[in-house]
Symmetry: C3
Subunit: 351 residues, 3 copies
């Protein structure tokens, strides 16, 4: 019996199975500093304890996407080590804020299994929950991946494909009870535009570009203790599908979010991710650009001080976004598009 982890194959999963993932992780100001250094993020809530306190937080909470990556990273050795592709995310809801010193753990439940027609692979749906040291949810999401079978001839379980919500209802977004935007300082945050100033259908080119280096994406992905082999091993990947290491898709999400500061500086929290797709892989040397569309503008029940925007952020590689690259004439994504992310952000209202 080997002592090393071969990862799970499609036939190792069963619907209802609970997986407790390894390596609880105490997140610190060290992680927060690295996150800024690797992404260039500038959102004031995560940068400043003083700013955070002015809104009712005890200190600056860690960036939502840093939390996402840490929670996600733990699932890789059990869920996606033998994955051919990450197919999507849904129903991703951020929970209580995470502070330096909190310890995060992740558990997953298998909620869907469906063998593909060629019998080589199958689609696995898991719902993963990240909790802090008090057991409070910090993140709850569904993802589905295409996983290899160990043995193509192995019998397949009855197909189960969960119903996935197109959107996390804004009434279900986690808003800390202590959050109070009466003293929100948009000057410190970096832009005058608040919730009222955005309109559904509006599109924003985030202008700037960020080039990815091998060292940067590997360092970020190791920080999250994500062990997917394709990000780290050039010796193996030189003979792989692309001849080189693939950038962790989550790093591209973080770069797109950091770029989106230019146009969305007051989108102070990601409250949910409705869906996301890594349309094309990214590689070292690619320069990431992004643009966003406001899909919807929704008030929040019982809150006059903040509202939600449903955003779609599209990231490209080596392609500025002044013309909002999207679907080509054939209805397929423009080949320069690498990410298509649908999510809810919270933004202050004028009240």
């Amino acid at each position: 019996m080997t002592k090393t982890n071969p990862g799970n194959f499609f036939e190792d999963f069963r619907v209802g199975q609970e997986i407790r993932h390894a390596t609880p992780r105490t997140v610190t100001t060290g992680d927060a500093a690295l996150y800024v250094a690797l992404t260039g993020s500038r959102f004031a809530l995560h940068a400043s304890d003083e700013f955070a306190r002015s809104l009712g937080y005890a200190a600056a909470p860690l960036d939502d996407l840093l939390v996402f990556h840490v929670v996600f990273g733990k699932t890789v050795p059990d869920v996606s080590l033998n994955a051919v592709a990450n197919l999507g995310y849904a129903a991703c809801r951020f929970g209580v804020p995470v502070f330096a010193g909190d310890t995060l753990s992740t558990t997953s439940t298998v909620i869907g299994l469906k063998e593909t027609s060629n019998r080589q692979t199958g689609v696995v749906h898991v719902r993963s929950v990240g909790v802090n040291q008090r057991g409070e949810s910090v993140l709850d999401y569904i993802r589905w991946v295409l996983v290899r079978k160990r043995d193509a001839a192995a019998p397949a379980p009855a197909a189960v494909v969960p119903d996935l919500p197109a959107e996390v209802p804004v009434a279900e977004l986690a808003i800390p009870a202590s959050l109070d935007l009466a003293r929100y300082d948009s000057g410190a945050a970096g832009a005058p535009h608040l919730w009222e100033d955005y309109e559904a259908g509006e599109r924003i080119d985030h202008v700037d570009g960020m080039t990815i280096e091998e060292s940067c994406h590997m360092t970020a992905t190791r920080l999250y203790q994500n062990t997917a082999k394709v990000h780290f091993n050039q010796h193996a990947e030189k003979d792989g599908r692309f001849g080189r290491r693939i950038v962790y898709g989550g790093h591209v999400i973080s770069l797109a979010r950091a770029l989106s500061f230019n146009g969305l500086a007051n989108a102070f929290r990601i409250a949910a991710i409705n869906g996301g797709r890594h349309v094309n892989p990214s590689f070292a040397g690619d320069t990431i650009y992004a643009w966003s569309e406001v899909l919807a503008k929704q008030p929040l029940p019982g809150r006059k001080d903040l509202g939600a925007l449903r955003l779609r952020t599209v990231a490209t590689k080596d392609r500025p976004c002044a013309d909002f690259p999207d679907l080509g004439p054939d209805g397929k994504p423009d080949p320069d598009v690498v990410l298509d992310l649908d999510y809810h952000v919270l933004m202050p209202r004028r009240g």
Copy 2:
């Protein structure tokens, strides 16, 4: 109306204008660790809480240049996004020490405006002040930049060019009242040479060299939340002036300071920068070397335990400094020189 920041153009500034910069930043031990990792700095005061306490500090203060970069970084989106060149620094005075947990913010005042003769650009002088969460100054400096006009035909304001001091008078250096060098341990600091051992006119080759990688300078510059596009976007810069990304000049200052440990290990604090010039750009692949000259050796009023040295540190690329590269026969800087920095350091006296 665009929601993205186009940066200010020359005609957007007026003398007396105050600009409050975005993104207050709580600096942490995470930032300090990254600073060491990215520069190799070894000065004991910033490395050791114990050493710092022996001198009367509550803990190790953050490196002076880390403070400089954080304060400076905030000014970029408002002051130099449309700059053609950083022309210089002056009257830069470090204030109260900065500790992990402090939150830094920056405000600038426009103190000079002068259109250039071709009417395409103008020189903007700003005085920027970085403060902590108690409003105490941590850094106060003047810089001037050459900024593009949006419209060459736009009328120019009356020219104002501030008088700049050649030197911050040592009587105005901020010396913490609690600072006491009676227990200064030069063995821990790494060298026996104290203030008495240096002489005006003395030149020191710092011997070592440090090669810059794209990932290193980008990571450092993102840590400071400096958004100048030329450092990050290879896709755009491939068609730019140099065909590649330019290293943030402040990163070169930090490398030169870190290299200067070898010869100046007891220069425990940078108290002021009298002037600085990025003589040539640096790029990934360049190896930075440095040498220093003691310009002056000045006692400090009322202090027998420490004195000031006025230093000039010259950094080069791909050129060892045993022969102190400086001006060529034509009176212009040697083309290998990248930095020429004039500053005051504090150093213990034998008492």
Copy 3:
């Protein structure tokens, strides 16, 4: 008299000489985060305060190898700046755990000197001790290096070569009195295999590979304030023995240890290093793989909750380890082998 450190040459050392190394260093959660980001380490004890507390620690101790590198780094300017080669380590015993906020210093004693027959160099043995701010030993080890002579004609001291133990006796391993594995959670740690499950002679391929980038190894080595020139200066090394920068051997040790998680996840502490050899240099672009052999399985006096494994971990470059690359037919190490490390780890017992 130069103020820069030329490093010590062979004739500068004498047996019995004590060297106090510079730059005491307060280690922080920032260092810990960087260590994870640069190595991908996943051992639960160092990742989680909660996990550490469940075993009787006050918080997550810093990774043993991070402590090793910080303690080691301080010795470089005095011991190995003029070294031709690091020949080996022995008798390396980790002491009290190190926590964020501790300040580490290093002192060395010269315990052996032997000129080589060509009179150009000599072997220097030093015993180095790293202590925390309370003077408690955190690490104690012997290393020997081949150091250049300043002057080949200089007379050599009487040869002294210390007896080196082949192994640190397990009875001498430092086990914190408060350590209690009754609540050890192997699910959180990531694998079910405990001390009982390993057998002497067993070999484990750690499967995964990690590619080294210039930026990654330089950033790690600067974090440790290791100043060995060969790691940092491409301008000088382009004309050196290999035409490029050499990766700090300790970084390869850290990568091998991080890779060994896959097969040794419950080896929660490195208690001692019996010996180690950097068989070949590593360079940026190399992908590091590793395999381990259990050399011995030893109970610990008075402990039913944990035992020791003596491991030999061999790391290779650009060579997967499924066939356990080791000595070639000529009895010399396979040219792909870069590291051969003999060490003791602690592992929980079923009790």
